[in-house]
Amino acid sequence: MTDIDVNKLANAKSKGKRPYFFDDPAVERVLSITMAVATELAVTRERLDTVERLLEAGKSVTKANIDAYRPDDDASKERQQWHADYIARILRIVHQELEAVENEALNADPEKLADDFAAT
């Protein structure tokens, strides 16, 4: 085996200055790590789904069976739907911020409302 450091090379930075989009680069770092953790949770969840389907089919849960498992059309769609639902859940705040931009009526300030309600 050629002596290469697989993780180091897989993680290599591409040439070209990396853009940071948030005002504070630390936010970008945290988002990036959070999304990587979210990815690994999705991987674990898909594995669990495979284990369940193997058990349901009366097969033994071995590493070989897990790696060889290929979802049929229904299972394939169900698993993609799970990813879609999961991603919608973890990106909730992004979608709520968008709703706030879309509809100004959602943004009443409680401080002002308190004064308003007190006065009327």
């Binding site: 697989v6 591409s14 040439k15 970008e28 990815t39 999705a42 495979t50 879609a84 992004v94 931009v101």
Partner: protein
């Protein structure tokens, strides 16, 4: 009914050389594909809302003037918190895709190299030139955040760049390139058959062919033609050549060279093709390689290019900003310049005649079934197009692929 979710990665085409992917690697690709789709379909549209509802009005309020250039739009959008989050997610997803694809290939690199060698060693159809060097525009920046770009070799006989490119294409394009990653090439064939039904080339050159995924459909469509794929990235060619061999295309030649200096007889190809090539070059490279192409094409031969369409007068500043995004944030710097470059002027300077130039579009050609019904949901550029309703009108109407070219 169009599918609203992409196929799972296990449906992606495989061949005897494909890297092994274990359960969790497939799951990781599935997540990243779905994340790309979610960002593209559900989060991206919010940029327009943020632009219309606050970025654009705010600019006007602060400066007393409307936004006038795509650069101003970009500077103004940079400050918007919704855009910031979308952009950070998008960039990060691309980096994750590179890491995931590279890891799959790197952990079995020795084996992949050995297997590629079995199909490469001693073959007349593969020529690697150890003296070929990456041109300046490739050496300065790793296009689409692909560490090491197309040409870097980390070990002798390296195939990493090519194998990673193929392995991750499904994720990057969310499965819209067909299961063999050859959706572009299949569409080129449709375009040529439709527009030029009598054209039957004998010798075809694909310049900047990469692993040749989009070259092979040309070879299938014109089985009597000699097909040559040129690229400056040796790992792309080693992988592409071995891949072509196992896919039964043992007559496609893969030649390692900078297209600028590639050594063929003048007037020796009746078709020179480039596919998604020019946007990763430079102005002087386009000028000189179009001259080169003109020189290599036989009189009466075809020059055909698949590229990003130019901005049109009716392309809004916001759409210009959106279409430029990859230039600045996905390491494709020249992409933005190409959007406003008159390629027909460059062709003219290279020798082509205006009255023999053309452009047009063609829809994605994807094999039937899951991939096709899914792909129809992700075609780009459609929104910009207006259909004239004239059946003989060959102009570009926002189809998935834009093509331009000319006859010598």
């Amino acid at each position: 009914m169009a599918n609203t979710l992409p196929p799972t990665y296990d449906r992606n085409g495989r061949h005897p050389l494909s890297p092994k992917v274990d359960h969790d690697e497939i799951a990781r690709f599935n997540f990243l594909t779905n994340l790309n789709v979610h960002i593209g379909q559900r989060v991206s549209p919010g940029n327009r809302t943020a632009f219309d509802n606050r970025v654009s009005p705010k600019f006007k309020q602060e400066t007393g003037r409307p936004l006038e250039t795509r650069q101003q739009v970009r500077d103004a959008m940079k400050k918007d918190p919704f855009y910031q989050c979308w952009a950070a997610l998008r960039r990060n997803t691309m980096e994750q895709r590179q890491q995931a694809g590279r890891h799959v290939v790197l952990r079995q690199l020795d084996d992949l190299i050995e297997r590629a060698k079995e199909h490469n060693d001693g073959k007349e159809t593969l020529k690697i030139d150890p003296s070929a060097e990456a041109p300046r525009y490739l050496a300065a920046v790793d296009n689409h955040c692909m560490p090491g770009s197309y040409y870097t070799e980390i070990v002798p006989d390296d195939v990493l760049a090519g194998a990673n490119y193929e392995t991750g294409l499904f994720v990057t394009t969310a499965g819209s390139m067909s299961s063999k990653g050859d959706g572009g090439g299949r569409s080129i064939v449709n375009f040529v058959r439709d527009r030029f039904p009598d054209f039957s080339p004998k010798r075809i050159l694909d310049l900047g062919a990469g692993i040749g995924a989009n070259t092979l459909p040309l070879a299938s469509a014109f089985p009597d033609a000699e097909v040559v794929a040129v690229d400056v990235g040796a790992p792309m060619l080693r992988w592409g050549h071995a891949r072509a061999q196992v896919l039964g295309h043992d007559n496609v030649r893969f030649i390692h060279s900078d297209g600028d200096t590639v050594d063929f007889e003048p007037n020796s190809f009746d078709w020179v093709q480039t596919t998604m090539f020019w946007h990763e070059t430079s102005t002087s490279a386009i000028q000189s390689m179009m001259k080169k192409a003109y020189d290599l094409i036989t009189p009466g031969g075809l020059f055909l290019n698949v590229e990003q369409p130019n901005f049109k007068p009716e392309t809004s500043l916001f759409d210009q900003f959106t279409r430029d995004w990859d230039a600045w944030y996905n390491n494709e710097p020249f992409w933005s310049k190409l959007h406003v470059m008159d390629v027909f002027e460059v062709m003219k300077a290279a020798g082509f005649q205006s009255d023999k130039m053309f452009d047009g579009g063609t829809e994605a050609d994807i094999e039937r079934g899951q991939f096709q019904s899914w792909s129809s949901t992700v075609s780009r550029h459609k929104a910009e197009a207006k259909d004239s309703g004239d059946a003989k009108d060959n102009s570009y109407k926002g189809e998935r692929w834009y093509l331009f070219g000319g006859w010598k």
